[in-house]
Symmetry: D2
Subunit: 139 residues, 4 copies
């Protein structure tokens, strides 16, 4: 499954170079992740209430282009890997109407409990694991 999120660049997200500050893209990835999880039938706030956290283990971002204030963008997100211990996402940011992404990123997340200890999601919360597995496989 690929989920699409719509973003309009905020003034506060620009820097004195006149473009979106590079630290903002991971924030948009997170917005896209929230939408993705909502679309597979959960709310990430409920996942956390169930005691499951998804702290980042790694992040990478490629900046092929830049974006500007008021630009209208689409962030596409998909799951690229799922195990009992972690999950990985890929993000592609497009300027609306553009056919090449201006930005591509990846995040890897550990499944942990509230105390940031790694859990085996398949055992502790098989229903969440099943939903994510389905989301990864469906087209």
């Amino acid at each position: 499954m690929i989920s699409k999120s719509h973003i309009t660049v905020r003034y506060a997200e620009t820097d004195q170079m006149g473009i979106t500050h590079h630290s903002v893209y991971p924030v948009w990835y997170e917005v896209a992740r929230t939408d993705f999880i909502k679309q597979v039938g959960m709310h990430y706030s409920e996942v956390e209430k169930a005691g499951v956290m998804m702290p980042l283990v790694s992040l990478d971002v490629k900046y092929m282009g830049y974006t500007k204030y008021e630009d209208e963008l689409t962030v596409e997100v998909s799951i690229t890997k799922l195990t009992a211990a972690r999950m990985e996402f890929e993000y592609k940011v497009y300027r609306n109407g553009g056919d090449k992404p201006v930005n591509i990123g990846h995040t890897a997340h550990a499944w942990t409990n509230r105390e940031m200890r790694v859990i085996n999601l398949k055992k502790t919360h098989p229903e969440i694991y099943a939903i994510m597995e389905k989301a990864m496989q469906s087209v």
Copy 2:
């Protein structure tokens, strides 16, 4: 008591106007508040661990001037009001070497428990109240 905090403007804090984004000043006020509380002999993280929260009730900011990337600033903070239910702070931001503040602000905070219910701090945590009272009065 007046506490002084030193801030250097970060690149990420600028916007496309080429100056510090206006939403950053409340973040600096908070840095100054943290330093202030540390200086009176506590850590705000310990205050929260004791179950006492200080959510904002109101904020006001006057922007008399602007600041830029790499500017070195001093934020002065003092308590202007303390009751069993709330506390108020005043902030003055100076460019180092300048004698007029470029920015002045105020925040008012409620004393609450973790569930955001207002508490009577004087009764529930008299030791924290006493420390704040002393900080307000000492020169």
Copy 3:
């Protein structure tokens, strides 16, 4: 005219108190301001390209309630004052479905040129002034 903007609270906008950080509301006000100006037939990025800046002169925020991750909100914005030298806006933030605002704010802006010198907008850019005047008066 009152313009309405829709906001979903981002994870990055929360703090360790578990609620939206208080410095985020001015960022939402700015999103609402951008939408407002777009709705009256301009783009704020074009206003800036015309050499007109609107730096903040003052900001105030009242926090009557708090908001949380994934909360869906509406920000209402209107112009409360317009002169040749400055403009003021009022913002009301509602949780969707709620009838009382959880947050109310005001910003005052100076009309300046790129060098942050105050201009007389009515004389230098009467067409922008006229659009804002119409936006203030229309219901």
Copy 4:
């Protein structure tokens, strides 16, 4: 050369997981980069005034641990690569007193002019190139 920058985690930098939000580390890297460049005898704001920009081309971050509000950290930064077209940095974030980094990152930057066109720094600004080269080689 390795430059060391001191950071205290701000309240606004935490999220509802109770730790520093992952998008904050690139902001600290930038603070460290600013200090690094200052230490080699320039100011990054002057580099930009000379018409030289250093937009990010890529970013990667490994989160081996987490950090919390009021944690005192040191960010070590060094140049790992320098060519006429780009420059790369490595960052290591340590909790003060700790001997293993809690976070490691890398950024790659293009040398561009104000219009974001890639330049050959060695030809257009040999003096800046020389300073960076010296900073990379000196221990």
